[in-house]
Point group: D2
Chain length 447, copies 4
Amino acid sequence: MEEIGIVAVGGYNEMGRNMTAVVVGDEIVILDMGIRLDRVQIHEDAEIDRMHSLELIEMGAIPDDTIMRDINGTVRAIVCTHGHLDHIGAIPKLAHRYNAPIISTPYTTALIRQQIEEEKKFKVNNPLVALKAGDSYEITDSITVEFISIPHSIIDSVIAVLHTPYGSVVYACDFKLDRAPTIGASPNFNALKKLGRKGVLAMITETTNSARSGKTPSETIAKEMLRDVLLGTEESHVGMIVTTFASHIARLNAIIEIAEEMGRVPVFMGRSMEKYLMAAHELGFINLPKNVEIYGQRKDVDKALKKIMTEGKEKYLPVVTGHQGEPGSILVRIANGETPFQVESGDRMIFSANIIPSPMTRANRYALETKLKMRGARIYDDVHVSGHAYREDHWELLRMVQPNHVIPAHGDLAMHSAYIEMAEDAGYVLGETVHLLRNGEVLFIEP
Amino acid sequence: MEEIGIVAVGGYNEMGRNMTAVVVGDEIVILDMGIRLDRVQIHEDAEIDRMHSLELIEMGAIPDDTIMRDINGTVRAIVCTHGHLDHIGAIPKLAHRYNAPIISTPYTTALIRQQIEEEKKFKVNNPLVALKAGDSYEITDSITVEFISIPHSIIDSVIAVLHTPYGSVVYACDFKLDRAPTIGASPNFNALKKLGRKGVLAMITETTNSARSGKTPSETIAKEMLRDVLLGTEESHVGMIVTTFASHIARLNAIIEIAEEMGRVPVFMGRSMEKYLMAAHELGFINLPKNVEIYGQRKDVDKALKKIMTEGKEKYLPVVTGHQGEPGSILVRIANGETPFQVESGDRMIFSANIIPSPMTRANRYALETKLKMRGARIYDDVHVSGHAYREDHWELLRMVQPNHVIPAHGDLAMHSAYIEMAEDAGYVLGETVHLLRNGEVLFIEP
Amino acid sequence: MEEIGIVAVGGYNEMGRNMTAVVVGDEIVILDMGIRLDRVQIHEDAEIDRMHSLELIEMGAIPDDTIMRDINGTVRAIVCTHGHLDHIGAIPKLAHRYNAPIISTPYTTALIRQQIEEEKKFKVNNPLVALKAGDSYEITDSITVEFISIPHSIIDSVIAVLHTPYGSVVYACDFKLDRAPTIGASPNFNALKKLGRKGVLAMITETTNSARSGKTPSETIAKEMLRDVLLGTEESHVGMIVTTFASHIARLNAIIEIAEEMGRVPVFMGRSMEKYLMAAHELGFINLPKNVEIYGQRKDVDKALKKIMTEGKEKYLPVVTGHQGEPGSILVRIANGETPFQVESGDRMIFSANIIPSPMTRANRYALETKLKMRGARIYDDVHVSGHAYREDHWELLRMVQPNHVIPAHGDLAMHSAYIEMAEDAGYVLGETVHLLRNGEVLFIEP
Amino acid sequence: MEEIGIVAVGGYNEMGRNMTAVVVGDEIVILDMGIRLDRVQIHEDAEIDRMHSLELIEMGAIPDDTIMRDINGTVRAIVCTHGHLDHIGAIPKLAHRYNAPIISTPYTTALIRQQIEEEKKFKVNNPLVALKAGDSYEITDSITVEFISIPHSIIDSVIAVLHTPYGSVVYACDFKLDRAPTIGASPNFNALKKLGRKGVLAMITETTNSARSGKTPSETIAKEMLRDVLLGTEESHVGMIVTTFASHIARLNAIIEIAEEMGRVPVFMGRSMEKYLMAAHELGFINLPKNVEIYGQRKDVDKALKKIMTEGKEKYLPVVTGHQGEPGSILVRIANGETPFQVESGDRMIFSANIIPSPMTRANRYALETKLKMRGARIYDDVHVSGHAYREDHWELLRMVQPNHVIPAHGDLAMHSAYIEMAEDAGYVLGETVHLLRNGEVLFIEP
């Protein structure tokens, strides 16, 4: 049977818990194993690291990979394209079921290793294979995976290409076509165009922002906006706190650079800040100037905040967790008055992040901002650009790769619909060359 | 009677038709005389340049200055802060009623002169006084006006300060605190702080974006976004058309610079493009490279579009009117197929503008974009930053100028409300030190 | 080839221009031939009744039935389910291409006859067959159409069922499950359940409101709201004008009844008011009390409005066209001051209609309401309930009819997506038993 | 000093924590003492009944009545207009500071008594005076309070009028002009018109829905919609659960009536259901048929739910708490699977309530609905009409009462702004006859 199967395991009906399986003859490659955090959030007392897979599947929090039982073939590899939790977060719960290595870029591999170590329920012993962007790896005699550099809101992201006897399958989840990502590699357009020229059987692509018109602004824009907010003020002595995605190393690097221009010491606080930043540092993705301070543990954080209060807020630039109002994060604790840091009238809270569009995070953010404002803080919101391609970036990638078939993934029906309409503009036909899959469905494609 | 009167003539209940009068003893200075275009738009057949003032007042299109009859005193000057129509557009209809000079910066003066010349109903013979930003002018023995540089979305904008025996009145309509406006002067913070130290009796301020959190992004951001859209593509040969505000000289200048990087010839098209650009050029605000082409008349525009079709779209970057879908604008004519320019699949239409939030412009834009898309065009929307201060810019200006009283202007109740809440954070009290005026009301302030 | 083909001709990518063809062996039945008015609206000078089909197809205004050339078989009938223009409006442009009768209920037939008579470009000579709800008609030896009563926002609406040798095809566009439609028949649940028990091969269904939660309120609710607005006031002497859909006979009937309670004479004004009302009257769907006045021609309308001004607004209840702000409609002319009717402060304008969600109608409505308010009118908006099934009505119909296959139609991708998610809850599977078609596509279903 | 002072204590900047003081010479009457629940919600561990007033004031949860220290005069009475918590919820925390009786209608008095009994921090010994709608009470020699019947979403609501030597002050918080409230009295228009004829000095009015066009639908509409949802289905045997405001006695009564038509036993569950319903029953506001069951305690509720599962869902109509997704409410416990009630596919959850527009309740509702849907429930949302006057009801009341001065209360700046614009249409002038107060401000009005 000379055809390739695309199994939509998770992330086709929703944002989060991404997982796709590609079936080539009797061999299978799994792409991503993510978690859907808002499904965890609605269960107040859920302790993920102690929960069983089946419980999490029932909650809709991780991909329902029980459907894999009905797929003929053996899983030969699990490939992860970047280190966000909606791509690697289910590994501790699901990977041990497969006798297969986990292949990802070095930074992603480091994060996966941490995930596995923090897991309390399952032992995950799959070999971890760190494959650099630009390199290829022979999974089996007939399947080779190639990693192509692509910017996203986390470093060391790639588009994965499975080269098979029946043609190539491109997996572009997630990406932006940022020619100036400030840190890390630009899109490898040569490799993508080369793929297009050689012929691609199918492309599976994220659709998060496919309804947004135009082109995702470059990370350079976020950096310039941050610089403008942090440096562009006559009230340069006030307290300023930045909060952003701990995993967004390019953003953290921009903050370090701007802090230097401000003459302030950047102080990173929070467990995840420490985790992501140190991993990036150890792998050489980021240089940390000598004066940078990093505190992961609560007592160290509080000590540092006390020092800032004593020595003067104008000397420091705290960079903290809490941009989504996560309970227990540093910024929430500051807003609750649970740390030595006193928010005073005119202090600035800079959210270098969007609000994740879920009612749960909206509520958390609202509570956080309300408390901060009641203490006199000034809010700078959305000093941020997205890491996901807008409609015209999708247009460009699609025309560059020219796949025979394209499958929207990593989104809900609204996002897929926007993608389909764009693909139709480019000549694709729904049901023939652009395919709408739902979680649990399989699409077979002939070369 | 040692007090100053602030007369809210227009623009206090709405966006557009701004006009404020400041009464000092028996002398009056008028600040701005604008038009409200969406009130004209809802009357399909209205020909403004032939209409009488009273008719336009009844339509709510220009300020109802008949209330000035009840104000004791003589108008000694009309001061305009910048050249947008909501600040100067009613001059042809109202200025002749006052025996007073019109004082504005050189670029604004040039635009006012054009307005007066185009008027068909009234003769306006008021002397035009061009006063440079940074300079002062003695209106009467007791009133001097000072112009302080401030960036906005049109060059040569100022904050006007009336120095009077009873104290200073600051008129900050419109402004952004852009430290890198790409063209023209930065905010003159020294002058503003000096005012604050000396003491200011009252500040009248725009409120357009006072509900938006944070800080207005710099014009530099718009330039970088434009550069990214125009240069950051592998499909560099396709047709590209930019449309933006003809009066936004900084933006036009950015486009010229980027066109050069692209190796394309910038071609400005449309009557207002020619008008604003030539005035800026003549006054030395902008350098036009030799290869720039500018066409105002319809037949010249069509000839140029034909040339572009013949010689190759990839050689030119047309910059045209029509960003709001205005009937008769160049882009609308292109979308209707009424020009020699053929839109082909993949051609890019770059809207370097927001959509003015009125149902009429939304409908025009929708019709325009629908027609362009049906011809295969790709839309890049909102490659733009605002020219109006966001909430934290207002916070900063307010704390810098420290007026005894602050009066929100240039907006509707929702905008004023957002401003009031910000001013309350800064210690102002509604009805005591921050005042909510409605069109037609007068506020008297004692020093 | 024992299968049935469903051809999505129009209305699958959008609201409006509905047309579906069902292929049974070598025989074809066309279901609906509608027009998409917002595509006409964006072309200001379009005169539909003089335009050629191909031009209208290119504008996206009528279904692109040129794809029918590629479908094997002969069209044996055109079946229309109700008299709205998005279901019958393209008949004057397309029906003459088919040598087939047009089958519809008596009221729909009357409206189709009017459409054909008003057409200036084409001669349409297809036989018109008036088939009563509840009756069946043998189209060919193998195909019989059955009409099942169903409420909608126009009287004499039906669900059409094609009984064929390979199974039944149900066409449920448009409907609501209103058990108290105030006029006309309730849903024929017995017939629908009987279909379900016998087995249905496929159901094609509208999806307009499938994203709205719950159940469409009954027309009774609209009647009660109208009564409350018209009778529930202490200021019972003021001028009141109602505007609503001229084709919504149940609503017009409610107004007549309420006018009687108010002691006012109902006066219907506008060409379409006269057209739809008289047709309903002639066919016996509505009783008109003796005092009802109806004026279609402009000069008669103006004369009547003059009489109302003379005799007293409190004696009359004008019911006029213009609920969407249509240029030239009676209410727009009143708002423009182009009729003898003087709007005074406190007069009430009751919109017994929603705003059709297109930027063009939003702009028209905004202009209309603004002008009315400037004259002192008070606006009562959205005194209305929808004629389209909400999500749970769809759930109920789907479970009653139990088709093997269901095909969302009459909507855009967002509407279809909401339907698909509901159908999935009911056990349907995308691509297997619930099918997403795009304009121009064909689905073949085996019994 | 012949003037009246209006002190805006709370509820002028926000929804919730309403409190106004009226100063007449050296005597003061307090109107309402409410709590703002969303300020409590953002502090997860807040236990209100054990918290001190000053702490709650700092949180913005109750009115900051410390400003009363600066008001000359003695508080002679606390008057509450109805029993919602945003009007009576702060009594347990604040009333004991005033040596004054609490005057309210009988039902409101019963609820206040419960509030006081549940309080754990303070002892409140103020005399409770139950005054019937339509009656008057002489507070002091110079001040008499009159209660005028007015419908709202809780029974026994009134407009309070203070008759003083300097004129009357009308307090219309909250109300709707419902002529068919299904239970309880209609608006007493005669009394209101009589007030208008005699002359009213000032009216303080709620503004919640002043931005919504038209007229609030009557409670009759909600009843009809509920009947349609509950009775209008062919799947009449499925499980159905209704959730609504426990304090909305008219709605509860409607449900009882409809349950009878359905042949189901209404079972009210939840502590607040029991509390409000029993109080209404004891005071004779509602007749409870013999078969009605009411369970307040958790173990009784669970027992009843078990019985329903055993005997058949089709026999019962549970009416439960949880319409806003409140943690610990019955519906939330059902959704969590913490009760014996098993939600099955097709069971109906009818929310006879709007979603309170706060991010916290939106998150709670989202979590609740998601969990219910995951168990197969069908959601009927917003089977509800508001209890707050829309714009035209405000127009009508204002023109009926014709106060010299009107003061928007009970809302935020956006709501007040909408009211002001309406009042301007009616001839009022901001700052002269319509006054915008902020929490903590005092307005003095001369007769």
